[in-house]
Each structure stands twice: as C-alpha cells, then as structure tokens.
C-alpha cells in the first residue's frame, strides 16, 4: 500500500470514529458523575434531525450544529428531571428517551426527506493540507473532527486537573459522602447529564451535516449504543474513549477494505469483527491489569435522594 492509501484509510477511520467520540465523551462525563444514560441513541438521532432542519432553515452549518447540540441537551434535560430530580430508574428512563428521540426525530425530519446539503467545509491550508502522508489527516478535516479532538482534551483536563472535575468524579463515586461534605450532588449530576446530551446531539449533527449530509430516519443506525459501550471499554477515561472509537471505526473500515480487496470470507463474519475486536481488546486489557474491583464510578446508576 502506498502512503496515500494509508492516509486515506486513516482519514476514513478518523471520520468514522468522530460521532462515536463526540457521543462517547459526553456520556463519559455523565457516567463519571454517577448517571447512566442509555438514551444516547435517541439524543443522537434527535440531534441529527434538528441540526439538519436548523441548517436548512438558516443556511448555516454552525447554527445547525448548535441546534443539534441543543436538541440533545433538551432531551437530556427531560432525562435529568426524571432521574436526578425525581429519582426515577436510570436504565428504564434512558431507554424511554431513546424511543422518544426516535419518534421526535421522525416528526422533525419529515419535511426534510430527500433534500441534500453541501457537507460541512473541510479545513484547507495551502501548503500544509497538501503535505504528503499526513497533510489531509492533520490539516484537512472538518470542524466536527477538531471539535471532537478538542473535547477529549478538554474533558481529560477538566476531570483530572480541576477542582470541579475532582468534585464531579467524587460525586460519581460516593454521593452520600460528597453530599455530607456539602457538595451539590444533584446540580452537578444534572449539568453532567446536560453536557452528555449536548455532545450526543453534536454527534448526531456530525452525521447529518458532515458525514452523510442529508436527513434520513434511523440514520444513526445504532451508533449511540456503540458510543455507550465505548465508555465502558474505556474504563471511563477520555483518551481511551477516543482510542476505542478509533479501534471500532478502524475495524469497521478495515473489514470493508478487506472485502474490497477480495478476501473471500463470509460478509457476516467480517461485519462481526468490530464487535469481537472490541471485546477481545477489553479482555486483553483486563488480563494486563490483573487487579480486582471494578473501574466504574461506584455510584453509577444508583439513585440519590438528598434528604434524610
């Protein structure tokens, strides 16, 4: 393979990983604060529909992306009211959110079927973008990809280098003790859930505005679920969410390349590879760690009620 093909594959992998990174990094923050939101798929698809609608109405990709993030945030707010405010079960509420999001996305998107938009512009810096080997990979992506990279760095910095981030993680590990210390458990959790929703909505917006720039019902095709799994895969660490998304995206893209190259294995087996590869990678990582106990935030999925 020439350097150009390698670069082209890497560009594809990065693009395939971007929606997973965006949605995953948001869910990571929510889960770090102790809230498990299984509604990522619903927030993502609603974000995709709204972003496309807003972009069509305003003609602006940026406003569209913001609209998508806002749509995800809105659904997340509903989820937050239920689970953080009213102490409802998180797993069931998240799944209801998925159903609601799928329905709402169809209603919003109904008027935008079969309409195309130009994809979000790619960065092009004369000289740099044309650098052989890495030019397009580093200097030729669209804004969403850079946003995803920046978000991973920012969340990583926030969670481990700031006081607020420390608080957030502490709340996710023990809401009773942190509450006793006077931390605002419910407020922090609600904000974390909102952040998660906005990121999921942005991930959906990426699909509808940049990756395959049109609206179509069900276009997220399960990516929200994969993003959820990647948070677990990453042991709730931001950099590993990105690594997991690249691994999953990479396995998906490589199996398609393997087919195009005429490998001759059953398509179903190759299609199953990304899932198997993710499990295998996690097993290998666990073998390497050899330590007991779970890495999950200890209070993940547990209901918190302040009084008493």
């Amino acid at each position: 393979m020439t350097l150009d093909i390698v670069q082209m594959v890497l560009v594809t992998v990065l693009a395939a990983a971007t929606p997973l990174i965006l949605a995953g990094i948001g869910e990571l923050v929510a889960e770090r604060s102790g809230v498990l939101n299984l509604g990522v798929e619903g927030m993502m698809i609603f974000g995709a529909a709204v972003s496309f609608a807003v972009a069509m109405q305003t003609g602006s990709t940026v406003l569209g992306a913001l609209g998508g993030a806002g749509a995800g945030l809105l659904l997340a707010a509903l989820f937050g009211i239920l689970t953080v405010g009213l102490a409802a079960n998180q797993v069931a509420s998240g799944l209801s959110l998925t159903i609601l999001g799928l329905g709402l996305s169809g209603l919003v998107g109904a008027n935008y079927v079969g309409i195309k938009r130009d994809p979000a512009p790619h960065l092009a810096i004369p000289g740099l973008t044309d650098l052989p080997g890495i030019g397009h990979l580093v200097f030729g992506q669209d804004g969403f990809v850079y946003a995803a990279v920046a978000l991973v760095a920012a969340v990583s910095w926030f969670l481990w280098r700031t006081r607020a981030g420390l608080m957030l993680r502490a709340i996710g590990d023990d809401h009773v003790a942190t509450h006793a210390l006077g931390l605002k458990v419910r407020r922090v959790r609600f904000l974390s859930v909102l952040f998660g929703g906005a990121c999921a909505g942005l991930g959906g917006a990426y699909l509808a505005l940049a990756y395959t720039p049109f609206w179509s019902p069900g276009m997220t095709a399960g990516r929200g679920w994969i993003a959820l799994a990647l948070v677990v895969f990453a042991s709730w660490r931001p950099l590993r969410v990105a690594a997991g998304a690249l691994l999953f995206g990479g396995a998906t893209v490589l199996q398609l390349h393997a087919q195009a190259a005429g490998l001759g294995l059953p398509g179903q087996f190759l299609s199953a590879l990304p899932y198997l590869a993710t499990i295998l990678a996690l097993v290998l990582l666990s073998l390497g760690q050899r330590q007991g106990g779970s890495l999950a935030p200890a209070a993940l999925g547990r209901v918190f009620t302040p009084s008493r």
């Binding site: 093909i5 082209m8 594959v9 594809t12 395939a16 929606p19 169809g106 998107g109 109904a110 079927v113 079969g114 309409i115 195309k116 994809p119 699909l207 990756y211 395959t212 720039p213 049109f214 179509s216 019902p217 069900g218 276009m219 095709a221 990516r223 998906t252 893209v253 398609l256 390349h257 087919q259 195009a260 190259a261 005429g262 001759g264 059953p266 398509g267 179903q268 190759l270 299609s271």
Partner: protein, 363 residues
C-alpha cells in the same frame, strides 16, 4: 389554558363513551363503497428508497381513483412481527393489501388463508395462492445497462459494488452488471463489499470510501441511501443511484439510477379488484412494462449515452436479454448455452457468480 383542559377532559369523556359504544358495536361492517387498499412497508416511508418508491405508488393510486379507493399504510414493520400488522389491515376492512418485502411472504399467506375475500399482492416472493399474487421487477435489466455504461467509462478498469445481502435479486444484479460491463470491456474488474444492511448511510459511505481508495472510479450500489453517490460526488468520481432518482444528491456524479416504479401495477391491481376481474398470478415486470425505469443518462459523453439508450430500448423490445448464452459460471461451468437465454427460475434463484468476479458467495 383552563378552557383547553376542560375541553380535553370533555373529549376524553366522550372518548370513553364512544369506546363503550364501539365495544358493543364491534364487528359491524364499515359502511363504505370505497375499496380500502392497505400497504405494509418494511422501512420508513421517508427512506427515500424502496419504501418511499412504494409509497409513491400508493399516492398515485389515491390520486388516480379518489372516489373509488381509500389508501392506508403501516411503515417500519419488522418482518418478525408482520403477521399481526397484515391481519390488522385485513380486519380493518382492506380489500386489497400490498405486502412489499420478501420477509412478509409466509405471514401474507397465513393471513390470506384466514381472509379469503381479501386480495393480497406480495412483492419479491415466490409463493402464491388463490388470493395472493406476487410481483417483482427485473432490476437486472437496468443493471445490465449500467454495467455497459461503467465498462465504457471506467478509466481504472475497476468498478466498486456496494451490496446489501446475498439474495438472488442482488446476486443476479451483480452478474448482469458484470456481463454488461464485459460486453464492452472484457478485462473489467468488480470489487464487491457486502455491508449487511439495506440502509445505513454511514456504513455505505465508508464502503464507498474503501472502494474508491482501492482504485474503483465508478460506484454502483444495491443499498438504499444516497451516501455512496455523495461520496463519489465529493471525490469527483461517478456512480449509479438506486431505488429512486437521486440526481439531486449528486448532480455531477450520477450516471443514471435504477428506479422502481410500481404505479402501473398497483393501479391495475386496484382496478381489477374493483371490476371483479382480479386473479392471482405472478408479475415480473422490466423496462418494457415501465416497472424498472432508468433515470435520465447524465454526466457521460453522447456516444455512451446513445449506447445506453440503445441497450435499454433493445431490452424493452425483447431483442436483448442480459443473460444470453454463453454465460459461464465462476468455476468455469456453462450455465447458459450459446444462443439460449437464462430461464426465469434460474434468475430468480441465482446463487452463483459469472466468470470474472473474484468474490465468493456463502453456499
């Protein structure tokens, strides 16, 4: 606000009363002379592909006979759960029901047995009964024309094929495409990617990228979204659309699109039911019948366009059959003798590749 709530409360009360009345009177026939025509779709009507095209025929039917028919549909019906949906349509008074996906075959037959007076038309299946007819389109005819265009236009000599599931309809499409391409360029190569989905824009785009990266300069697809076309457009390559005319998604890349047009069939079936002349049977229409329609030939030189039009006309006139012998299988055995054409059952059950294709099929 207060008034709105009272209004709703009243409405709910009325609803409850009405429900009681309905429960008592359930089963009484709906007084209507109109023929109720139901459609069951496997995807959302907004897929802008297969189900969308079928829904266009429903709308065409409603527009053609507004006083005589009333149409209704169920979308996104899972194949595993379709028997109830079909029966629900039959129970709600439908006189003619179109079940539009292969997976609905057995459920359609089961429901049809229970409702002998209701007529059913099932798409792409092969089992019929007194009140179940089948219909499908000879998509392979359109794919043969596309293959010829690709054979002429490909500079790299490699065409990328995005395939959904290895069923005969898809396999015969690949073969017809290859035979068409080989007829103008014997050395043409096809790279096939199976994406195991009918519809996943992201994955289809990834497949398109993989094929283009591996040297294909023309794409064709047997999946439903416009994503591969858009990818071709973005990279300045060419592509064929699928199911509906997707020109607007790729005005510089789309060569043509193989579109399904069910209007004629659907309207004819409804007329036959109204006239009392409906009979079960199989309809397998092609370019001639207007069931397979090639979108305008674009983005190609005039001589290629002329060749494509000529080919299409010849197929429609019955002068040209895509599977005209000698057709040689991948393993070298002769499938169709020189001078013969492949019989319909062979095409309907095709699970082998013609010579020149590198991919392997699960046997």
């Amino acid at each position: 606000m207060g008034r709105m709530l009272t209004g709703l409360g009243g409405a709910l009360l009325r609803g409850a009363l009405l429900g009681a009345a309905l429960a008592v009177g359930a089963g009484s026939a709906v007084a209507a002379d109109k023929l109720k025509v139901g459609f069951v779709y496997v995807g959302p009507v907004a897929d802008f592909g297969y189900s969308y095209q079928h829904d266009l025929s429903r709308k065409a039917l409603a527009a053609a006979m507004p006083d005589k028919v009333e149409t209704t549909f169920l979308e996104n019906v899972p194949e595993a759960d379709s028997e109830r949906s079909i029966e629900k349509l039959a129970r709600s008074g439908a006189g003619l029901i179109f079940t539009t996906s292969f997976g609905f075959m057995e459920p359609t037959l089961k429901v049809a047995k229970k409702f002998p007076k209701v007529k059913f038309a099932h798409a792409t299946g092969y089992k019929r009964s007194d009140n179940v007819a089948t219909y499908s389109a000879r998509f392979y005819e359109g794919r043969y024309v596309c293959g010829k265009i690709a054979g002429k236009l490909s500079r790299s000599g490699t065409v990328g094929y995005i395939a959904s599931f290895p069923i005969p309809e898809v396999v015969s499409g690949i073969n017809a495409f290859m035979l068409g391409a080989q007829s103008v360029n014997p050395n043409i190569k096809i790279k096939i990617v199976w994406v195991n989905t009918w519809f996943d824009p992201g994955k289809e785009a990834e497949a398109a990228k993989a094929l283009l990266a591996q040297g294909a300069d023309i794409l064709t697809q047997h999946t439903d979204s416009a994503a591969p076309l858009q990818e071709a457009e973005k990279q300045g390559k060419l592509a064929f659309g699928q199911s509906s005319d997707q020109f607007r998604f790729a005005p510089k890349a789309q060569l043509t699109s193989i579109t399904d047009d069910w209007n004629g069939y659907v309207i004819a079936q409804a007329k036959a039911v109204l006239d009392g002349t409906w009979k079960s049977g199989d309809t397998w229409g092609g370019i001639k019948d207007g069931m397979v329609v090639l979108a305008p030939f674009t983005n190609m030189p005039d001589d290629v366009k002329a060749m494509a039009e000529e080919t299409s006309t010849a197929i429609a006139a019955g002068k040209l059959h895509p599977f005209t012998g000698p057709v040689v299988k991948q393993d070298g055995t002769l499938a169709v003798k020189e001078g013969d054409t492949a019989p319909d059952p062979m095409i309907l059950g095709m699970n082998w590749y013609v010579k020149g294709i590198d991919d392997k099929l699960t046997q």
